[in-house]
Amino acid sequence: MEAALKRTPLYEIHRSLGGKLIDFGGWELPVQYSGILEEHQQVRSAAGLFDVSHMGEITVKGRDAEKFLQKLITNDISHTKDFQVMYSPVCYSDGGIVDDLLVYKYNSGNYLLVVNAANTDKDFTWMLQNLEDEVELENVSAAYAQIAIQGPKAEAVLQKLTDFQLDKIRFYHFIPDVVIAGVNTITSRTGYTGEDGFEIYLPAKYAVLVWEKLMEAGKEDGLAPAGLGARDTLRFEAALPLYGHEISEDISPLEAGLGKFVKLDKKEFIGKKALANQKEKGIPRKLAGFEMLDRGIPRSHYDVQADGASIGFVTTGSYSPTLAKNIGLALLDSAFAAEGTVIDIIIRGRALKGKVSTIPFYSKKYKK
């Protein structure tokens, strides 16, 4: 028998809003409410509210916390200031990716890691296997709900519910005790849509209260609930990677275009040797964006060919609501990844033409 799907504290809200619930990595979550296209546009033009409580949270504390993270992640945490957020891949020793995560730094002995829901247990085990002497790890995922408010109106709406001056939270920074609608939260200016916005971590039992207050506060500004479907098309247009698509244990961060988050000049970290080697020898594959020239929608795992031979595969493909075009991301042999290269995408047995374009497809509207 299959295990029962996990539910977030906002499950009943999704049902009452008419959300279409699906199994997302073992979680019962709404893929859409009114429709993916409408929700997508709403986030780009006003603001959207997302339940991302399924995300995993792991605390890292102790004297050797920084040393441990420096070994674990490919990015360099040592220059990060307190209350800053850092994005980083985590690699295996062969350079394949365990997961990508956000590191919230309280101080050099106290961090909060935010990881992909479906990877939480795998990540936690991996961290335990690579533990340093004085580090305490705790999987606190169940204690936290997470609500993301994203879009040009996000700050104005959220500001109505807090006395804290939100414009003081800069991009990729957080405040650990922002009181929103009377509830103590961790609030960061981060997101996964290419828009300005915030991610709010709060005790699970207050999730419904805060969600409802936000919906009410956002009425005039057009705040609408948005599901996982819109979250995916939004992050895709902004070319933000999704684990299992653009990144995986078979894809290195250098191939995925995440080189700026891999600090090869850092002392030692898991995967450094393999990644340095890859860089030296030339990166064999490269993540590229492309636009369809022929009529057709590319989808994950479709084969990409040149002269009848396979040169890679589509990692994510979709109709782009913002551009009104059919576009995709593909992992291609580096020789074919240059802008302007014409490639064949194999859609239902037919070779349809696409052209490599620049990414991101949508220029991000971050408030920095």
């Binding site: 893929v31 296209l37 479907g229 057709g296 929608i297 989808r299 109709y319």
Partner: protein, 127 residues
């Protein structure tokens, strides 16, 4: 969910309307609703011979591609070209916007298909 009397329905949520030797084929209101916003339609080639159950076309929503099966056997004699540039019409009026017209084969049978009443029940049971 809208179900029209006088049409025949398949378990894959296609409808057909038979007029003499011609059959209009489309997708039902239930189908368009569960697909969500339709952003792409792939039409069959004119003159294509289809057996019952063959793929007649493809309808894609933002999330996924879904095959449309031919509920009967026949030859494609017309396609609804307007759907190429306006696939959302399938969401707006799925019973007016047929996908293709088939010239029915002599041996064409529709007894395996449901009438409106049976299809309404079928949708309820599926849900």
């Amino acid at each position: 969910m809208k179900v029209l009397d006088g049409l025949k329905y398949s378990k894959d949520h296609e409808w057909i309307k038979v007029e003499g030797s011609r059959a209009y084929v489309g997708i039902t209101d239930h189908a368009q609703h569960s697909l969500g916003s339709i952003v792409f339609v792939e039409l069959p080639g004119l003159g294509k011979d289809l057996n019952e159950g063959d793929v007649l076309g493809v309808v894609e929503s933002v999330k996924a591609a879904s095959d449309v099966y031919s509920p009967v056997s026949g030859t494609v004699s017309e396609v609804n070209d307007a759907l190429i540039d306006a696939p959302e019409k399938l969401n707006e009026d799925p019973y007016a916007e047929w996908i293709a017209i088939l010239e029915l084969s002599d041996a064409c049978r529709t007894d395996g298909l449901m009438d409106a009443e049976e299809y309404r029940k079928f949708c309820l049971e599926e849900a």
